[in-house]
Symmetry: none
Subunit: 220 residues, 4 copies
Amino acid sequence: MKSIVEGVLKFQQDAFPGLSGLFKQLATTQNPSALFITCSDSRVVPELLTQQDPGDIFVIRNAGNIVPSYSSEPGGVTATVEYAVAVLGVTDIVVCGHSDCGAMTAISTCKCLDHLPAVAGWLRHADAAKAVNASRNHISPAARLSSMVRENVIAQLANIKTHPSVALALEQGRLSLHGWVYDIESGAIVALDGVSNTFVSLAEFPETVATQAKRSALAA
Amino acid sequence: MKSIVEGVLKFQQDAFPGLSGLFKQLATTQNPSALFITCSDSRVVPELLTQQDPGDIFVIRNAGNIVPSYSSEPGGVTATVEYAVAVLGVTDIVVCGHSDCGAMTAISTCKCLDHLPAVAGWLRHADAAKAVNASRNHISPAARLSSMVRENVIAQLANIKTHPSVALALEQGRLSLHGWVYDIESGAIVALDGVSNTFVSLAEFPETVATQAKRSALAA
Amino acid sequence: MKSIVEGVLKFQQDAFPGLSGLFKQLATTQNPSALFITCSDSRVVPELLTQQDPGDIFVIRNAGNIVPSYSSEPGGVTATVEYAVAVLGVTDIVVCGHSDCGAMTAISTCKCLDHLPAVAGWLRHADAAKAVNASRNHISPAARLSSMVRENVIAQLANIKTHPSVALALEQGRLSLHGWVYDIESGAIVALDGVSNTFVSLAEFPETVATQAKRSALAA
Amino acid sequence: MKSIVEGVLKFQQDAFPGLSGLFKQLATTQNPSALFITCSDSRVVPELLTQQDPGDIFVIRNAGNIVPSYSSEPGGVTATVEYAVAVLGVTDIVVCGHSDCGAMTAISTCKCLDHLPAVAGWLRHADAAKAVNASRNHISPAARLSSMVRENVIAQLANIKTHPSVALALEQGRLSLHGWVYDIESGAIVALDGVSNTFVSLAEFPETVATQAKRSALAA
């Protein structure tokens, strides 16, 4: 904890002065353009890997970058998605998985989670991805994990489409969904291409989108 | 979205090279010392304000930095807390609220949330703070909001103590809880002092702790 | 009730003899090719309107032909979908709405449902459709209801895709999803065309499909 | 799917013309006298076995003809029962099990359902019947299954009495409950006699009722 508190003091002395103008502007308002949903993993720092400033992205972080599908008993992710889309009006949502994910490893290796009942329950929101991934042949455990991470991103995008605020924004052509996977070791990102249903390099195809607004809405 | 994708390219070209040694070490392991729970708000960047590197802090972010109390139907926050404490073995948990919080403003001003049913449901996990705050006289709406933000941090610390993994770790003397409030405009942080039950400046009292491990455990 | 019991006796005396061979075959096995999900409404008789015999279609009926999205607390519809897809191996699922639907009328007219708490809770699974439909201009209440019925079919198809058994079967190219709306007065059926995202006459376009198996799977 | 779509065309050409007068009357209203709750099983066609016309019976169908008891988290069956009783005012509810039921076979043979988590969860609503049936000696697996099917009907009738709308209608003397078991091979139906608590032939005792309205209410 000592390094964290020392970090705060360092932030206040060294980093804050250069940002004080920005923070003054932001003191009573925020206007982020995107909702970025990623893992709680300490190695995935969304503002770092997208080089965004304070005020730029609204962030949800939980174990496994999971978005439960909409239900009559909504929890924190659903509430936060609703706030981001219906109140803040973000135009893009990124669901970003990553390499070496502990949650996806637990699923991919059928780890016994009896001693972690809350984790086990939470990971059931990835059951669709688990079923798809288990149906395939993988050449190695590493390939199985890598595929699981990608399928999980696809499944969470399916889940998020059941949210009313998201369905409405897609219908009205004011929201796009993005599915990313970040590789910790190399810093590379692949993005889901909704047309081919495959992941491609974001650096090579920077305009890749998982789900566009509806055609009818776009035409309107 | 364009600036975010451009940010990724900038990260890969400019920032990653200097961090590649660290990321290589982190490729297959993480060992964060703390769980940092804060708001999805775009202006609150935990790694920036604590000056921590990738790999240092495990992060939960949702609207209102809320931790539901433990129940038979655990959701994502509970699962992520369980993972952080029981698997990663973090030694500190920080619940960090902030000034100008949209969620706390909604509660503090009794805003009608009929059009945001998921948000309304989620904020019920702050009902204890709402009741306490509503029972007091406040000299202004700003004072009411400021007090609400602080009471919410206190209420979420009460909630997190109902989690089995947290209760066990506190009992065994291997976990401390911290309650912070971050002021966006000034960069200042106040911390809950568990002895006096008041918030004090973290810069002046850097060792302030909200809840220590049990004395018996510490003595052991 | 008298007419129902008399109907049973009539069935046993008049209808059963001609079907006894079929029922003998079916005594210990069923092999339906499709799961047909429709409303509890007394006017929508799935076996009549598809002219199917006993043994041909597996049927779910509830108020509003609703399929909750997958969650960690699955109910009866989810369990029955799982059984149909994973055990019986149906190759097609039809979600069939209908004209003059009481549930959709309640949503479309913003009827107060305070006295029907279970109905109100259940209809939240149509919130995505409600949000989309409310965002549009409709030339009349009848047009609003008609559109609501169609949007509800679309939303329930989005919901069913979050079910693991369905995601897997789509991935493996052994399941197609169909979205129908049945008009009670005329007997006509329109079907959702997944390509144009519009409803077309089933009589004119009998091969219309809402969601095909994945391209990759089909190619395999 | 081809035969189903062909069936629709056949319905529209052959069957609909003779029913067009009835369907015209039904276009904007329904007035069913009974709620019929039965299994999704493809061999159990309620309108066929009771020889009822469109408009006559309101139907719930799910795996195992299950009615969860009332809870604070009502699902689709509860909502549909509420709608049938409180809005449509049906005077009779039939819970109809059947021979060779896959759901009851799974319970009766203690089948492992680990690969069908939603089914396993759903069948817990038959735990009372399972416990009663397991406490008895049965002369054969067939006898155990047959008994399980009957006990399940009894348990679901107990469950439905916990619903507020049903409890109120029984209290006011405007609703009767019926428990049936349908034999696929023979077409025979046995009905639960609430006085002797045994199942008797519906053909011989056509006025058999499982639960009558309360005496006081009937006298009123």
